[in-house]
Amino acid sequence: MMTATVQSRGQALAIQNLSLEFPTFSGAIKALDNVSINVAKAEIVGIVGESGCGKSVTTMAATGLLPKGRYRITGGSVRLFGHSTLTMDESQLQDVRGKMVSTIFQEPMNALNPTIRIGKQLTDVIMRHEEASLSDARRIARDILADMLIGEPERVMKQYPFELSGGMRQRVLIAMAFSCNPGLIIADEPTTALDVTVQAVILRLIQNRARRTGTSVIFISHNVAVVSQLCDRLYVMYAGRIVEHGATRTVLDAPQHPYTQALLRCLPERVAPKQELEAITGAVPNLMQPPAGCYFQPRCKEAIDLCRSRSPQLAGAEGREVACWRRGVGLEIAEQGSRP
C-alpha cells in the first residue's frame, strides 16, 4: 500500500518541520527546531555544522535510533520512502533499518561486535533482510567486500574486528551498510577518525557505489571541504536549525547566511599563510535557554533589532533558501520591522 507513494514522489527522505527536545531535570534542551531536510532518490546530500548543532540527532530521530523515552518530538513528520518512521514501533523500525536505510557511524570499532567474526556479522544482516540462505549470504558478503577493495575477503570474513585496521573496519561497515541494497545510506562522520589517504578512499568507495546503485546518501560532517567534494546539495545547521541550504557549489561559492560565511572564512585553506583567520566570536547558545530571535544573532556582526526579537524562517528560491532577516526575501520585512 505504501509503494505507490514511493514511486510518485521520487523522494528518499522527507523530514518536515521536525522539532525535538531532550527533557532534563533542569529543563528541556531544544535540540532541533523546525528542521526540514529533503533527499531525492540517488542524491548525495551533506549536512554540515559544528558539534552539537543537531546533525546527528536529525538523522537518528528519523531512523528511530535515539534512546526511547529520553526525547520528545514536539512537532513535524518524517517520511522515509513514504513511510512515517516516527509512528513505527521497534519491530517495524528493524525492518526499515538495513533494508531501506542504513547508517555508517564514525567509530567503526564501536559499531562492530568485538566478539563475533566479520563474516557472521555481515551474513546475519543479509539473512535477516534478504531472506537469503547462508551460502547465498556468504556469496553476497564476499562480493561486497571485494567491491570495497578488500583483498582476500574470505580471510577477512574469518577475522575479528580487532584484527583489522581502522580503514579496513570502516570499509567492512560500508559493505554492511550497502549489503541489503538500502535506498538511503546515512554516513555520520564516517571518516573523521581516519587519515586523509584512507579518508579519500572511503569517500570514493561510498560515492562510486552510491552512484552505481542509485542509492541516496546523507553525509554528515563538520568538514566543509569533504562535503564540497562529495555532495550534490548541502544543508548548514546551527544550534538545531537549518540556516541555509542549496546546491553545494552555490552555497560554498556564494554563501548567504552570516554563519555560513563566517564558517568558511575561519578555514585556513581560504586565507593567505599567517593571515589572521576570521574567528567567530562568542560561543554556541545554550539550547536550554536559547536566545530570542535568530540563534546566531548574539555572534552575528550584521544583527539588527528584528534579529533579536523574531526568528527568521527559511526563504528564497526553490532549492536555495536562507534563514536570515538581512538577506533576500526577509530584507523588506526587516526594514519595516526596524522602523520605530
Partner: protein, 330 residues
C-alpha cells in the same frame, strides 16, 4: 630547519639522527627481543622565532618525535640540543633548567589539565615547580598570562571543567608560556576543536608568536593548517622525514611521491575527490620490522629500479629543500 636555511643564528632546537624504539616483546629473562621502531633517524632544526610543522599520518611517529624532543620518551641514539645544549647529557639542575626552556601543548585539554586545580594554579604550575616564587607572585604572573591568551581575571579561580574546549586550550597555552620557553611544542593543538574555535586558537598562537617571538614545533595531520601556520614543514613517513623545506614550496610543489599522495587526498575546495588509482589503497608497513630500501616502496606508484637501496635525504633546488627519493628531480 634544513641545513643552509639559516646559518645566521644558532637554531633553538637541533635534532640529529634521532632514533626512538620501544620494546614490543621480551624473552624469558625480560630482555626485549623485538621493538617498535617509532622514529628512525630524524634530523631537524628550528630557528628562533620560526615555526616548523611536522605532518604525517597516524602512526608515522610524529608524536613520539615530539615527546622525545621534550624528554618524555627516551631515545637511544641521536642528539637533541636546545639552545645548543644537549638535553640527554645534562644532569641535575642543568637538566631541570633545560626542560624549562621547552613546553608542550597537548591535543586534548580535557586530560592534560589537572581537574582539581584552579586555573591560576594550572597556569603557574611550571613556575611553582621551578620554585622561588611566593603564592602572590604566582597569582600575579598567572593573571598576566591569562590576559595574554584572552582569559578574564574572574576565570582564574575556576576549575577546568567550567570551561569549553577552546578556553581549556587557552589555559594550556598560558601554562606553556609561563616559563618563557625557547621552544613550544604544539601536538595537534586544535584537532579536538570545532573549526570556529580552531580559528581562534590559531590566531592566538600566531599573535603570541608575533608579539613574543615564540618558536613553534607544530605536530599536525592537517596539511591546510600547517601551510597556514608554519614557515617550514617536514613530512614524516614510518619514522623518517621523507621531504622537508619551506612550507609553501613543499606543499605547493611536492617532490616525494608520498607527499604527493598525501596532498592529493587532503580534502580541498578546489579539486574533486581523487580517484582510487590516485590515492592507492595501502597502509603503513609494520614498524616492528622495518622494510629494506625505501620505506615507501610498497605503496609507491613510481617505484622502479634503485628503490630497493636505502634512501637518504637529497638536496633539491637551492638546497633549502630535501627529499628522500632518488627519483625526485633536483
Amino acid at each position: 630547519m634544513t641545513e643552509g636555511v639559516d646559518m645566521i643564528a644558532r637554531p633553538v632546537l637541533e635534532v640529529s639522527d634521532l632514533n626512538v624504539r620501544f620494546p614490543a616483546s621480551r624473552d624469558w629473562l625480560g630482555r626485549p627481543n623485538s621493538h617498535v621502531h617509532a622514529v628512525n633517524g630524524v634530523s631537524l632544526q628550528v630557528r628562533r622565532g620560526g615555526s616548523l610543522g611536522i605532518v604525517g599520518e597516524s602512526g608515522c611517529g610524529k608524536s613520539t618525535l615530539a615527546q622525545a624532543i621534550i624528554g618524555l620518551a627516551p631515545y637511544e641514539k641521536g642528539r637533541v640540543a636546545i639552545a645548543g645544549q644537549d638535553l640527554q647529557a645534562a644532569q641535575g639542575k642543568q637538566k631541570r633548567e633545560l626542560r624549562q626552556k621547552m613546553q608542550i601543548v597537548f591535543q586534548d585539554p580535557q586530560s592534560s589539565l589537572d581537574r582539581r586545580l584552579p586555573v591560576w594554579r594550572l597556569i603557574s604550575e611550571p613556575l611553582h615547580i621551578r620554585g622561588g616564587h611566593s603564592s602572590a607572585e604566582l597569582h600575579a604572573k598567572a593573571e598576566q598570562l591569562a590576559a595574554a591568551v584572552g582569559l578574564r581575571p574572574e576565570h582564574l579561580d575556576r576549575l577546568p571543567h567550567e570551561f569549553s574546549g577552546g578556553q581549556r586550550q587557552r589555559i594550556a597555552i598560558a601554562r606553556a608560556m609561563s616559563t618563557d620557553p625557547d621552544l613550544m611544542v604544539l601536538d595537534e593543538p586544535t584537532s579536538a576543536l570545532d573549526v570556529s574555535v580552531q580559528a581562534q586558537i590559531v590566531n592566538l598562537l600566531l599573535k603570541l608568536q608575533r608579539e613574543r617571538g615564540l618558536t613553534y614545533l607544530l605536530i599536525s595531520h592537517d596539511v591546510a593548517l600547517v601551510r597556514h601556520f608554519c614557515d617550514d614543514v617536514a613530512v614524516m613517513y614510518l619514522g623518517q622525514i621523507v621531504e622537508s623545506g619551506p612550507a609553501d614550496a613543499v606543499l605547493g610543489n611536492p617532490r616525494h611521491p608520498y607527499t604527493q599522495t598525501l596532498l592529493a587526498s587532503a580534502p580541498s575546495f578546489e579539486t574533486p575527490l581523487p580517484t582510487l588509482a590516485e590515492v592507492r589503497i595501502g597502509e603503513l608497513p609494520n614498524n616492528r620490522k622495518l622494510p629494506t630500501g625505501c620505506f615507501y616502496r610498497e605503496r609507491c606508484s613510481k617505484a622502479a629500479g634503485g628503490c630497493e637501496a636505502p634512501q637518504g635525504l637529497r638536496r633539491l633546488d637551492d638546497g633549502a629543500r630535501q627529499a628522500r627519493c632518488h627519483l625526485a628531480q633536483g
